[in-house]
């Protein structure tokens, strides 16, 4: 598992992420494991734990700045 904090762009269908673009590469989201949210101060952030085939990604959406970040990624749980 690697912890990073890099800006990414995410394509949505309504409020469901469909694909992630990271380092000029598109990753199609195949499954959403969990979607949770919490407050950082008064800013609501949404965390999406998603799979793109065997690649796990943890995405953060900041509702104040309307920006997406990739927080973690791992392949097959490693």
């Amino acid at each position: 598992m690697r912890n990073i904090s890099e800006k990414v762009s995410v394509t949505l269908d309504s409020d469901t992420p469909l694909s992630v673009t990271w380092k000029n590469r598109d990753y199609k989201i195949t499954k959403i494991g969990l979607r949770h949210n919490y407050y950082e101060g008064k800013t609501l952030v949404h965390i999406f734990s998603v799979l793109s085939n065997n690649l796990f990604m943890k995405l953060k959406f900041d509702t104040k700045h309307l920006s997406w970040k990739l927080l973690e990624f791992s392949e097959n749980g490693i």
Binding site: M1, L34, H36, G41, L51, S74, N76, G77
Partner: protein
């Protein structure tokens, strides 16, 4: 006395392998694999939760990471993610509240609630299980225990794991107790076990069938009476005790074992904030320290004045620290406050403007509430978020 003949309406719900299962829900590549959530992933880190597959290999909560790796070298170790666990806790709480107006979260992974009379507890439990799978996560399983009181409902929830649904009632109580050891009962461990042995109680059935005078001999007057009622399905644990202590503790990792003052400072920030959020001030403080050789020291003090600000709390805790014989290599650092009064009644002081101090504290709390705790903090506190990380405590919320 016979077993309570009322219909069972108390439900105890327990999330199976809570933290580990939630991590497996979030990351499907971890499912059906031995996974542990631990305080630290270093060899001496303590395991907080083991997945169902890890438990099958003999890995348990409380073990060290190195012991788990001795059992299964490829075990996946994860650090806790408290916001995720709090979110799931709230999601399940919302579901349970649809069935009962009296829900008590006993801890992050346990809920107890009473159903209205006339409702079928088994039907409701099955429905709750289905809704958790559909609305919270398909990998999350819960064990549900049903009985006439909270104690037996908890025992029932432990009988079948994972994904269990067991009722203890007047028809099966003897059968259930005949298969259990005394120490399988919640609240009966080493010391209570030896108390029972001394009065000739050797099995769970002996315990259940004992007359009240024998239990009074074992536990003392009212203690024996409570155990008697509890085992016979009558409710005696339906009370809420007033909070008598506010505090926080932290077990630093080895590389931070000597950073005691920044840790104390951060614990004071956290405790002071919680105290003020409940509109309280304290007149007592306590510091407890344990080093890595196992030495333990603690000291409490009643103060001459009430305190509510982080600065005063920290000053008093640091005064206690001066008395401590343990100065380095800490395993655990805990601070607490006691003897509470309402913060609304401030005692004016001769040499200090207490109203100004209160206004300043309120302003800082307002900023921290808006932008996140520790946005404004004491200079002595390390701003490194790794000094005292966000943790979820075991036990009552």
């Amino acid at each position: 006395m016979e077993f309570n003949k009322n219909k069972s309406n108390i439900i105890h719900l327990d999330i199976n392998s809570c933290f580990a299962t939630i991590e497996q829900q979030a990351n499907p590549t971890l499912r059906n694999k031995p996974v542990v959530v631990c305080a630290y992933t270093t060899p001496t880190g303590c395991i907080l939760a083991a997945s169902i597959d890890a438990k099958k290999l003999g890995i348990k909560t409380g073990m060290r990471v190195m012991d788990a790796k001795n059992i299964y070298p490829k075990i996946i170790t994860l650090l806790p993610d408290p916001p995720k666990y709090r979110f799931i806790h709230k999601a399940i709480l919302r579901i349970v509240k649809d069935y009962s107006s009296k829900v008590i979260p006993k801890s992050i992974d346990e809920f107890v609630f009473a159903l209205p009379l006339g409702t079928c507890p088994t039907k409701v439990s099955k429905e709750i299980k289905k809704r958790i799978k559909k609305e919270v996560g398909e990998y999350i399983t819960v064990s549900i225990g049903i009985s006439t009181n909270r104690y037996l409902a908890k025992i029932a929830s432990n009988l079948e794991k994972p994904d269990g649904l067991v009722e203890i009632n007047n028809k099966n109580i003897l059968n259930v107790f005949s298969k259990m050891k005394l120490t399988d009962l919640t609240g009966i461990k080493k010391r209570n076990f030896s108390r029972l042995r001394k009065v000739g109680i050797k099995t769970t059935l002996d315990f259940y069938n004992s007359p009240i005078f024998r239990l009074r001999l074992a536990f003392g007057g009212v203690g024996g009476f409570y155990w008697y009622r509890r085992l016979h399905g009558f409710e005696i644990d339906d009370f809420t005790s007033k909070k008598s202590v506010y505090g926080n503790s932290y077990a630093p990792p080895p590389d931070k074992a000597n950073e005691v003052l920044p840790i104390i400072s951060k614990l004071c920030e956290k405790t002071g904030f919680r105290l003020r959020m409940d509109n309280l001030k304290a007149t007592g403080v306590c510091l407890a320290l344990q080093d890595r050789n196992g030495y333990f020291w603690h000291m409490g003090r009643n103060l001459r004045k009430d305190i509510f600000s982080t600065y005063d709390l920290q000053k008093e805790i640091k005064n206690l620290f001066k008395e401590s014989p343990i100065k380095t290599n800490f395993r655990n650092i805990a601070i607490s406050t006691f003897n509470f009064k309402s913060i609304k009644n401030l005692q004016l002081e001769i040499f200090e403007n207490i109203n100004r101090k209160k206004a300043l504290t309120d302003a800082i709390d307002g900023i921290n509430k808006k932008w996140g705790l520790y946005t404004i903090h004491m200079g002595s506190m390390s701003s490194d978020s790794k000094v005292v990380q966000d943790r979820i405590s075991f036990g009552q919320l």
